[in-house]
């Protein structure tokens, strides 16, 4: 499925055969663009010339760039599809996945590691690329032709990543793994695109914190205190919901502000400061959650959840309790949810992140995130039946 309708028939665009021949199937990303077959044809020709045809880089090197760049963008679609293609080229799925997650832990040769370092940097810090980065590739014995192909492959992958996200194209195959959240690391800077992605409705130009952010960046540390006062409550809310423990939430709140202060020089104002800050806080909270020994894994699962208590609710259930009682009731029941469902529900329904943002924060695919949010909502509904159901209505179990 995607945001635009896909045609039932795909055979009428001859160039789609290029994908069948080289990948063994026609990826959904191209079927989703059939409103303009000519554009699909152009992309197919570029992909054929750059990726599939024999060039200066090997096909596997080019596929690795595609995986590494997609991983840097937290994009699961292409690693899923191209891990399959790489299996035909003799690369094990585990290694392909590792290239997407962290190519430096993927057992690559030194030249291929340098190649992926370059591609990721070009993706995450495009303004930071200099002749020194190109010289690093030359030192690793890459020719100018190969460097050119590396640049083009990186650009092509970023284009394809944008097209897939923009059209909401779901994976062609069920992912074996989803990408874990990468912690804030200024050396790699891999979170910056996600952390600084503005919310759809927000106007960055009118960021009310811009003045204080600029003052802190100019060396006025005291100006940060105003930012702590302005956003402390909001950050605390994000953290208490994730961690469920006031003491731990306060510790995490301190760490989140400290991280924000330390990374402020990298904040480029592409999102509002508050959006960026809350994402740092969520990362901080998730890092703590993952460190708990009783933490249920955030890995995907597929078992079905079947609602059992089917009982009609009161017309206006909110009227049965005071606002304070409702607040406490929701907090109690949300905290009883298994953390993987609670976290997904918190991000969507209390933090009001978009599906894509929440999926990015958790390193999940969009369908994976949606499934968890739904599960969380259904489990919460189940636990609340006892408070809000009409008396005398039957219960199925």
């Amino acid at each position: 499925m995607s945001f635009l309708p896909e045609p039932e028939e795909e055979a009428d665009v001859a160039t789609l055969a290029i994908f069948k021949k080289n990948l063994g199937f026609v990826p959904r990303i191209f079927r989703a663009q059939m409103a303009r077959p000519g554009l699909v044809e152009s992309q197919a020709k570029l992909i054929d010339t750059l990726l599939f045809a024999k060039g200066a880089l090997t096909r596997i090197q080019k596929e690795f760039i595609l995986l590494g760049v997609s991983g840097a963008n937290n994009n699961s679609y292409f690693p899923v599809a191209h891990s399959k293609a790489l299996e035909f080229l003799g690369v094990k799925a585990q290694q392909s996945e590792q290239v997407a997650i962290d190519h430096r832990q993927a057992n690559l040769s030194e030249p291929d590691t340098a190649l992926l370092d370059f591609a990721r940097k070009l993706t995450l810090q495009p303004n930071g690329i200099s002749i020194a980065d190109v010289d690093q590739l030359r030192k690793a014995d890459f020719t100018d032709e190969q460097i050119l192909e590396a640049v083009l492959m990186t650009g092509l992958t970023n284009l394809l990543n944008s097209v897939q996200l923009g059209l909401g194209v779901e994976p062609d195959f069920k992912p074996r793994v989803t990408f874990p959240l990468k912690e804030v690391n200024p050396e790699i800077g891999s979170e910056r695109p996600m952390l600084e992605r503005p919310l759809a409705e927000e106007s960055v130009s009118a960021d009310p914190d811009a003045e204080f952010v600029a003052r802190v960046k100019a060396g006025d540390t005291d100006a940060f205190e105003e930012l702590v006062r302005r956003h402390g409550r909001r950050v605390y809310r994000s953290l208490i919901g994730l961690l469920g423990n006031a003491e731990e939430a306060e510790d995490a709140l301190q760490d989140a502000f400290l991280k924000a202060f330390q990374h402020l020089p990298e904040f480029e104002g592409r999102a509002r400061f508050s959006t960026w800050l809350v994402r740092i806080a969520l990362n901080t909270g998730l890092q703590r959650l993952r460190g708990r020994k009783d933490f249920e894994t955030l890995d995907d699962d597929s078992e079905e959840f079947r609602p059992r208590r089917i009982q009609a609710w009161q017309d206006n259930p909110e009227d049965l309790y005071s606002r304070e009682e409702l607040k406490r009731l929701v907090e109690t029941e949300v905290m009883k949810l298994p953390s993987k469902y609670r976290v997904a529900l918190m991000l969507r329904d209390l933090e009001e992140l978009s599906t894509e943002e929440a999926a990015n924060v958790l390193g999940l695919t969009i369908p994976g995130l949606k499934a968890r949010v739904l599960r969380g909502r259904l489990m919460l509904r189940e636990s609340m039946v006892v408070y809000f159901a009409k008396s005398g209505a039957g219960v199925n179990s």
């Binding site: 940060f224 400290l258 460190g291 708990r292 609602p307 949300v334």
Partner: protein, 88 residues
């Protein structure tokens, strides 16, 4: 005609108003004939409304002064972040 399990699978998208027109029509047709899914849809929708309107997990009052001071003291002293906690 879609099944109850199909309906549950699409319920999240329906609640988020993120469902294609033709699928919405199928879901609504199912709802018109299935009392169980009607109850499930209505009660989940109300759950969502209660959760989003409850003001849960909000910090009561402004952030406390000692906490602001702690944060600023750590920043001014050039404090390093602690290593991430690990399970024992």
């Amino acid at each position: 005609m879609i099944s109850c399990q199909d309906f549950i699978t699409e319920l999240g998208s329906l609640l988020d108003n993120d469902v294609a027109v033709e699928i919405r029509e199928q879901l609504e047709t199912h709802l018109a004939h299935c009392n169980t899914c009607q109850v499930l849809y209505d009660s989940t929708r109300k759950t969502l409304r209660i959760v989003t309107d409850s003001g849960s997990f909000e910090y009561a009052g402004p952030i406390e002064e000692p906490l602001v001071n702690k944060i600023m003291d750590r920043i001014r002293s050039g404090c390093e972040l602690p290593p991430p906690p690990t399970s024992k």
